[in-house]
Symmetry: C2
Subunit: 424 residues, 2 copies
């Protein structure tokens, strides 16, 4: 179909930590955009996220085959590159916002699809506001993504369900291992999972407990202050009664002094402390105080990239919010985010809704206290009801020669139209 | 079929670190034994391995349903319990060997199936020798198992192929993650895998590299002395040319002083140092010397219990050696171990052979130097040819409510026949 004046290009970028299914959202965005050539011309992606827009380093997604785009649905990571780069307030980062709009204008970009967490929802909202103020209105739709599950309004965040399935499966498997060896070997096993401020991933480990008393026996949430004496007492009691003790700990657990147990002193571009290492610290504590043989694992990136064990529900939701983002934009919605809406828990039914970005940006959804047992060490039935549907179903990627076959895109650059380099 | 004088009972035990498929071997042993009631009466399993035989704590496997035994094929860990307990030389541990034979005699046990690595092959051989010398001959067959892949003669050890598939998949997934974020985030990612003396698991990570220059970029084998300057230079060079660097490191890598980089000072029952933590040490080195942002993961038990991603080839081989062990015993073979025999690599064809335990016991198969590239940092084509077939095929367990459905056996105890307690 020939281009006409109502055809505008679109821009898509991935932001922040990638997930096993963020590319499924990209797949939803691109496949849906391709169905509307009368409205959307080219769909450009930012190379390395929003930085690609700032430096006018755009990828022409039309140069990717339909097969390659379809393969995004089963490929983890960010196919166009993501970044940790936060645009701040309109005053502080005005030059960046204006540059974004300059680039959008140069490339006739009328749609901005931003795939990320709370920070990028905020950026998306501001681009919408500033573009209108500058007389070049851009339709901005945020596509939710975060393994931390900490966005408000949406029932869950695409990316979370797959991590949840991975950590619950992994801790169940490791617990079977420990149980079978505990008479003469490891008595305490500690798995460290992601979750800086919100304990959703740690909570998901609790799904591996199918009946009371089963492993994992102790979950340590960042929402609660770590109590060393209480923790050690519970470990000891569990080893004495069960023969072993399996612990899941969030990387973000803090002590009474408010400091991360695992703080390494490094900080990332967002000013967040770089974590990692709370499991070995707890293991050292267990050895020093209880003298039990221990093992520990730190899943780190393995958990958020484990597309081989993605939740089918999560993949479907990731794709659906990508698709809905384009459809919302075409219907004229602006400064919004498609959400996952739970219609029923048993049987699980969900649909896609819409939220205003002003209600999403910079709001962090932590675990409600009622999702954690009174003793602070496990999840309640209410939490289990919430979490259980999110890990349902398997969605295995194709395997070639025994390994998952993931796609790497061509990532053909769009010719620059603006002079000079923008320093980020 | 009524019992007659040629019917004798059998004993099966799991030894040492468990794997994702040792229960598949148990399944092969038990299902095959059940087909020969004219020769094998009851099949007893040792609770917590050989310790169960010494303390006369036997499990009556006839009390487990056919369905439960079939489910062992897809259940990781050691269903009867395993242990780290090594019988030493005939002189040093004579009381233990004599006790074993006393328990076997009390329960009319004429077959001993021992499922483990090099240490248990040695025990199996000695039981065979001593039982003959004491006038109560027991047919002893060792069933190979070790994630370390370090047994001689057999082409591979059941348990290894599944770890290999898991670590290769995991590092490929994590590498996709790192590649997509490296412009502003992590530049160096380090995955620590098992392998105290033999680098087979680290080598398997190299299978994720499908063409030269792809991640993982650096493999660190325990067979080679760690050279800090050379390692740092290669990391730096890789980050400069690729934008990021992915490293797989064996827990057993040693420095020029002969000490494990990760030595924690603890030792297990076999006198081996307890390892864990070489990844964070290397990460610290990278930060201190190169100032690159890093992340690290320690897979620990996750890798050897990851039945959700087992190699179909490995599961089939684990089952086959269990089945063959019973068949060999019934044919009168003694002090032997069924082996995996490679008949062809392309296409991959294998069968089951037999080795004398005298040639297996206490021999450790390390990586041949020709399997490692001259620079010491990757695997050669020859190594790839060897490894590639071992990870072929997927063999997913059943999932219920989004999680793998593993079986826990009833483990009904056999009534003791001997007086008193044997102190182990």
């Amino acid at each position: 179909m020939a281009k006409n004046s109502t055809v505008r290009n679109a821009f898509y970028a991935q932001s922040g930590g990638v997930t096993a299914v963020i590319n499924a959202s990209a797949c939803g965005v691109i496949q849906t955009a391709r169905k509307h050539p009368d409205r959307i011309g080219k769909l450009y992606a930012g190379r390395n996220g929003i930085i690609g827009a700032l430096t006018e380093d755009l990828i022409d997604t039309s140069r990717e085959s339909d097969e390659a785009i379809a393969a995004l649905r089963h490929t983890p990571s960010g196919a166009f590159g993501s970044c940790r780069y936060k645009l701040k307030g309109l005053e502080e980062s005005r030059a960046q916002y204006e540059r974004l709009i300059e680039v959008f204008r140069a490339h006739n970009i009328g749609y901005f699809f931003y795939n990320g967490g709370g920070d990028s929802a905020d950026t998306c909202l501001k681009v919408s506001q500033l573009s209108a103020a500058l007389g070049y209105p851009v339709t901005c739709v945020h596509v939710p993504k975060t393994v931390d599950n900490d966005l408000p309004i949406t029932d869950t965040c695409p990316g979370f369900g797959s991590v949840a399935k991975y950590v619950a499966t992994s801790i169940r498997e490791a617990a079977f291992d420990v149980a079978s060896m505990c008479s003469t070997s490891t008595k305490v096993f500690i798995l460290e999972v992601m979750g800086r401020n919100a304990g959703w991933i740690t909570a998901a480990c609790g799904l591996a407990t199918s009946k009371e008393g089963e492993a994992p026996h102790i979950l340590l949430f960042p929402e609660l202050v770590f109590d060393e004496a209480k923790f050690l007492a519970r470990v000891d009691e569990t080893v004495r009664s069960k023969g072993y003790c399996v612990v899941a700990v969030s990387e973000g657990v803090k002590g009474p002094d408010g400091r991360f147990l695992a703080e390494s002193g490094l900080r990332d571009a967002f000013g967040h402390a770089q974590l990692g290492g709370v499991a070995p610290r707890l293991a050292e504590l267990v050895r020093g105080q209880l003298n039990y043989k221990f093992h520990w694992a730190v899943a780190d990136y393995l958990q958020r990239s484990a597309r081989h064990l993605a939740s089918k529900t999560d993949v479907a939701q990731a794709y659906a919010v990508g698709k809905a983002a384009v459809e919302l934009a075409l219907k004229g919605h602006n400064a919004v985010m498609p959400t996952v809406v739970r219609k029923s828990t048993r049987p699980y039914k969900w649909g896609v809704g819409v939220a205003d970005l002003s209600e999403v940006a910079n709001v962090e959804k932590k675990m409600p206290r009622e999702f954690i047992t009174p003793d602070g060490f496990h999840i309640t039935a209410k939490c289990r009801n919430y979490l259980a549907p999110l890990i349902q179903g398997e969605d295995y990627p194709p395997f070639v020669n025994g390994l998952p076959d993931y796609v790497t895109l061509r990532r053909v650059a769009v010719k620059k139209k603006l002079p000079g380099d923008f320093k980020i």
